[in-house]
Structure formats: structure tokens, C-alpha cells
């Protein structure tokens, strides 16, 4: 009876869906993404995602540069975890060159990669908290990230866009006081982790906004190409570090956190736990690492020692050719993949035998996640868009390349 009355009233009120642009410049979008939302009241009926507002022509640029000159461009793909991109690209080119790097280089790459992953997760948590108006958690997370960046700066020379990886090795060895710096930072980072748990994880407002919103089932996630923490939060335990180990991930002990419900809260918890696991990986790696060479000694790839460059004609010619013509990579195609900050980061590289790449394609997790995000948004409310978009962690540089 009451329902009939309400139905009669609804028929008389003329309403039509409203189209709202959440435009490219929006405080709650992690990068520049434009959502065209068709709304019925507060509910999103249809969401159209438009990316490309940070398209900088990575592939076209790299086709005109040598293999080593591509490293700064790879930094700026997933700019919160630049070392992971550097090493992913180096791994792909080394696969095509069929060269092996020494053990110490693999350990260094593991350690620096996990530091970058720490930076990525701290940024995601901080920015996510900021957009839900938890400013304190943001400041704590950024303080943690500053500590990580201090260490990265001591090793590589730059805070964020480092260009540390090289084909066949890394730029420089770790400094002697790395162990001490890490001990101090580690204590503070775990402290920040515990404080963030206390601030957010059982907070009524945080739970209301994050639990039950943005739910993804495992089949949906795989069908729409999700990988990384997003896929793991639905219950599928797929982590490239465990399934296809590279660097030294098969010599360290770590667990891969897997969620159950696939909602935003699970994605938040997965990232919080991965922080702790990354800290543990770095601890174990520092214990197991042995001194040794950090670069391969293959003369096709490595610059000769400075003594030889200045004092012998062969050294000078070798140096000249590698720098000006680029490393001569044999012709062929290869697809190599690593675990990036947001998901599986892959590089599909085509070489035509010269010193410049013919094609370097990035399998970017952020771009693929944007393809399926309308499924998560349709049917929910506008305010659920914010935590969903935060925890998917789309990084603009990687999405648009």
C-alpha cells in the first residue's frame, strides 16, 4: 500500500540522469583521468573513463634514443617506484642480449627494488588517506617515504627519478654506511606502519567508506586483466616474484598477502602487509649479500675501465662506440615481466640489431586497470569512487606513458 503510494509519486516526478564530468584536474584523482559519470541521484549508472592526459610519447621517444638513453624515460613511467621500472627494462634487454649479471648486482637490485616498492605503497596509502580526509595518516606516510628517499638519494644521487639501472648492472655500489642508515629508517618505518594501523584500520569512518565498496570478484578481476595487489585482494595468489622468480627472490623468505573479499579495505590491508614483507626482504638480503663485482664484464655491454679508456686506443674506441652507437643488441623480440608497484609490469622489446630500439612497449598495469574500472564504479555512489580509485593506484605516468 505504501509502496503503491510511493510508486505513484515517482511516476509524477520527472527525473532524468545527470552527466557529471570529474575532469582531468581533480583533487581526488591520483593522476589526470577524466570520468564522465551518468548519475541517477548519487548512484553512478554509467562511467566512461578517459585517459591520455599525461601521454608523453614514451615509445616514440625511446625509438630515437640508444638502449641506455632509455633509462631516464623508464624512471618516469611509474614515478613513485622508479627503480622497479629501471630494473624491469634492464632485465628485458639483458634477456635479449642473453647475458648474466653477477650475484651482488642481483642482490642490490632486489634491495633497491623493495625500497621503491616501500615508496610506492607509502604514497598510495598516504594519498588514499588524504583523499578520505585523514590528513595525519598522510603526513606520517610521507615522512616514511622521505626516509626511504634519503636512503635512495645516498645510493643513487637522486630522490625520485634516479636512472640507477644499467644494462648489465647498476650505476654504483651501495655506500658503506648503508646498513646503519637502513637500521635507523627501518625502525621508524615500522613505527609509522603501526601508527597508521592504529589510526585507520579500526576507524569507524574509514571502515564505512572502504568496506564493501569497489568489490571485485576473482573471475571478474582476471577477465579484466587485473594483477598485483588488486588481484591479490580478491583471493588469487598471483605474484610474479613467487611464481616466476627473478633477481634473488627465490633466496629470501617472504609471504604474499592475499585478501578475501576484494573490496577497498582488503586492498588497503594487502598493501599494509606488503610493506612489512618488503622490510623483511631487505633485512634478509643485507645479511645474505656478499661483496663482489656489480656489473657484468661483457665488453659488448660494459664501458671499459677509465684507465684503459684514457691510455689505450682499443679502450677509447670501445667506449666511443658504446656511448655513441649504443649497445648492439641482437635482432629479435622478447617479453619480460616483473612485479611492479601496481601490478605486473612487462616490457615487450623488439630489436633490429642496432644500437637503438625498434620498439619498447610497456605492459603497464595502470592502463589495464583503467580498462576495467567502470565495472567497479557502476552501481556505486560518487563518494565510493574516491576510495576505489585510490586503492586501484593508477599512476598517470604508467597509464598514459
Amino acid at each position: 500500500m505504501a509502496q503503491d503510494f510511493i510508486d505513484t509519486i515517482d511516476q509524477d516526478i520527472h527525473s532524468e540522469p545527470m552527466i557529471l564530468q570529474m575532469g582531468p584536474s581533480h583533487p581526488a584523482t591520483h593522476g589526470t583521468v577524466r570520468f564522465t559519470l551518468t548519475l541517477d541521484g548519487e548512484t553512478i549508472i554509467k562511467a566512461d573513463t578517459e585517459v591520455g592526459y599525461l601521454h608523453r610519447g614514451f615509445e616514440k621517444e625511446v625509438e630515437n634514443k640508444t638502449w641506455t638513453q632509455a633509462f631516464p624515460y623508464t624512471d618516469r613511467l611509474n614515478y613513485v617506484s622508479p627503480l622497479l621500472n629501471n630494473f624491469g627494462y634492464a632485465l628485458a634487454v639483458e634477456k635479449l642480449l642473453e647475458i648474466e649479471v653477477p650475484d651482488r648486482c642481483d642482490w642490490i637490485r632486489t634491495i633497491m627494488g623493495e625500497l621503491s616498492r616501500l615508496s610506492d605503497h607509502l604514497t598510495c596509502l598516504g594519498a588514499g588517506a588524504l583523499e578520505l580526509n585523514a590528513m595525519t595518516a598522510f603526513l606520517y606516510a610521507i615522512e616514511g617515504r622521505e626516509l626511504v628517499w634519503d636512503i635512495v638519494e645516498a645510493v643513487t644521487g637522486a630522490r625520485m627519478t634516479v636512472s640507477y639501472g644499467r644494462i648489465g648492472g647498476v650505476k654504483d655500489d651501495l655506500p658503506e654506511n648503508f646498513g646503519e642508515m637502513w637500521q635507523k629508517a627501518r625502525a621508524r618505518i615500522l613505527d609509522i606502519h603501526a601508527t597508521t594501523h592504529k589510526l585507520l584500520s579500526r576507524n569507524r569512518i574509514f571502515l564505512d567508506r572502504m568496506e564493501g565498496t569497489g568489490v571485485l570478484t576473482p573471475d571478474q578481476a582476471i577477465a579484466w586483466g587485473y594483477t598485483g595487489p588488486t588481484l591479490r585482494s580478491t583471493g588469487v595468489a598471483y605474484d610474479v616474484r613467487k611464481d616466476h622468480p627473478y633477481f634473488k627472490y627465490n633466496e629470501v623468505d617472504f609471504t604474499v598477502p592475499v585478501g578475501t573479499r576484494g573490496d577497498n579495505y582488503d586492498r588497503y590491508l594487502v598493501r599494509m602487509e606488503e610493506l612489512v614483507q618488503s622490510v623483511s626482504i631487505i633485512d634478509q638480503a643485507l645479511e645474505k649479500m656478499e661483496p663482489g663485482p656489480i656489473n657484468t664484464d661483457d665488453p659488448r655491454v660494459m664501458l671499459p675501465e677509465k684507465q684503459k679508456v684514457y691510455n689505450s686506443i682499443e679502450g677509447m674506441i670501445a667506449h666511443f662506440k658504446i656511448v655513441f652507437e649504443g649497445i648492439q643488441v641482437p635482432a629479435g623480440e622478447v617479453y619480460s615481466y616483473t612485479e611492479g608497484g601496481c601490478g605486473e609490469l612487462g616490457f615487450y622489446i623488439v630489436s633490429n640489431g642496432t644500437g637503438k630500439p625498434w620498439k619498447v612497449h610497456v605492459r603497464s598495469p595502470s592502463f589495464i586497470h583503467m580498462g576495467g574500472i567502470h565495472k567497479l564504479l557502476e552501481g556505486s555512489m560518487i563518494s565510493d569512487l574516491i576510495p576505489t580509485f585510490d586503492t586501484i593506484n593508477m599512476i598517470g605516468g604508467e597509464c598514459d606513458r
Binding site: 585517459v51 591520455g52 601521454h55 577477465a223
Partner: protein, 184 residues
């Protein structure tokens, strides 16, 4: 990795495979566009393959080769942990490939990027428009015959102009030179 995926594809689709190899550990089959959907369906549904994750779709422009383009599909199975690359030969003139949107939902989004950058047309696609560039852009930038710096601005670009305030300060320069006690 044994070549069981390549053997599976060759067994079920006898005349589809043009070439195959296993260089550097990447199983690859090279096919023509007509057989793409059936091969993808086999890979997804067959119990020996179970390739439920479409990792990526990309294209390569081999400039002076016939056929000019190749669209590369990377399939992966999360359970069985194996991967297959399927390379589809595409001519420059026809430049058409059937869409995989029905088999893998993410394919629609990835195909839009290949269309945007290379101009390959995906027949049967529900909504084939540009994804990284804007509607007014003409041409397909990742083709090898597109110049790197050929930009197509959307807003009329301005030449640098002097600041109004700087001009005002020059105007009052004379006053200062005359020994005025005022600051301006």
C-alpha cells in the same frame, strides 16, 4: 618449457599456424587474422591451456616488410603458469583484425590503444575510438612514417609576451632616474 602450447595450437588448428618458435623461452605462434578468435577461444577453454589472463595486446610496425604490421597478443595462465605469444600478420592495405572483445573483456580497451597508435582496425569492436590521444588528432603516431615532433596543438599557442607590470616599471624608470624620492 616444453612446447606443449605450440603443439596444442598446431593440433587443433592445423592450417592456421604460419610459423612458430621458442626462442629465449617465449613460446610464439605466428598466424593470420582469420584464425585469431578460434585460437583464442581454444587457449581460454582447453583444459591443457587454461589461459585466462590476456596480458597485453600491442602492435609492431616493421616498416619495409610485407606484411607491414604485426599485432601481438600475450596470453597467460594463472593456474598452469605458462605463456604464449600470438603474433598476427596484418597487411598495410587491409589492416583489419577481428576483435577479441567477446573472448576477453579487457581486449576492447587494449585494442583501442593499438588503433590509436597504429591505425589497425578491429572489426566488430563496439566502441573503437582513440584512448590516449584526442579526437582531432590526425594520423597514427607510432607508425614509423610519422615524424616525432609533428605536434597538432589544440589551443592557439601564444608567443611570449612581456608582463604588464614589467612594462609599468619601465615606464616609471624615468621618474626614478630624475631623483624622485618615491620608490616607484
Amino acid at each position: 618449457m616444453a612446447k606443449k602450447l605450440i603443439d596444442l595450437v598446431k593440433r587443433k588448428h592445423k592450417d592456421a599456424v604460419v610459423d612458430s618458435h621458442n626462442r629465449l623461452g617465449d613460446d610464439t605462434v605466428i598466424i593470420r587474422p582469420e584464425h585469431l578468435i578460434e585460437i583464442a577461444t581454444t587457449l581460454r577453454d582447453d583444459a591443457g591451456a587454461k589461459m585466462n589472463l590476456l596480458r597485453d595486446i600491442t602492435a609492431v610496425d616493421y616498416l619495409n616488410r610485407v606484411p607491414r604490421f604485426e599485432v601481438v597478443y600475450i596470453f597467460y595462465s594463472i593456474e598452469l603458469k605458462h605463456q604464449l605469444l600470438v603474433r598476427v600478420l596484418v597487411d598495410e592495405d587491409s589492416c583489419k583484425v577481428p576483435t577479441l572483445n567477446e573472448v576477453y573483456p579487457i581486449a576492447g580497451w587494449l585494442e583501442r590503444e593499438v588503433f590509436d597508435m597504429y591505425g589497425v582496425d578491429f572489426t566488430g569492436h563496439p566502441d573503437l575510438r582513440r584512448v590516449l590521444l584526442y579526437e582531432e588528432f590526425e594520423g597514427h603516431p607510432l607508425r614509423k612514417d610519422y615524424a616525432v615532433q609533428a605536434s597538432q596543438p589544440r589551443v592557439a599557442l601564444r608567443a611570449r609576451e612581456r608582463d604588464a607590470v614589467e612594462e609599468f616599471k619601465e615606464y616609471v624608470q624615468d621618474e626614478r632616474a630624475k631623483g624622485s624620492r618615491e620608490q616607484y
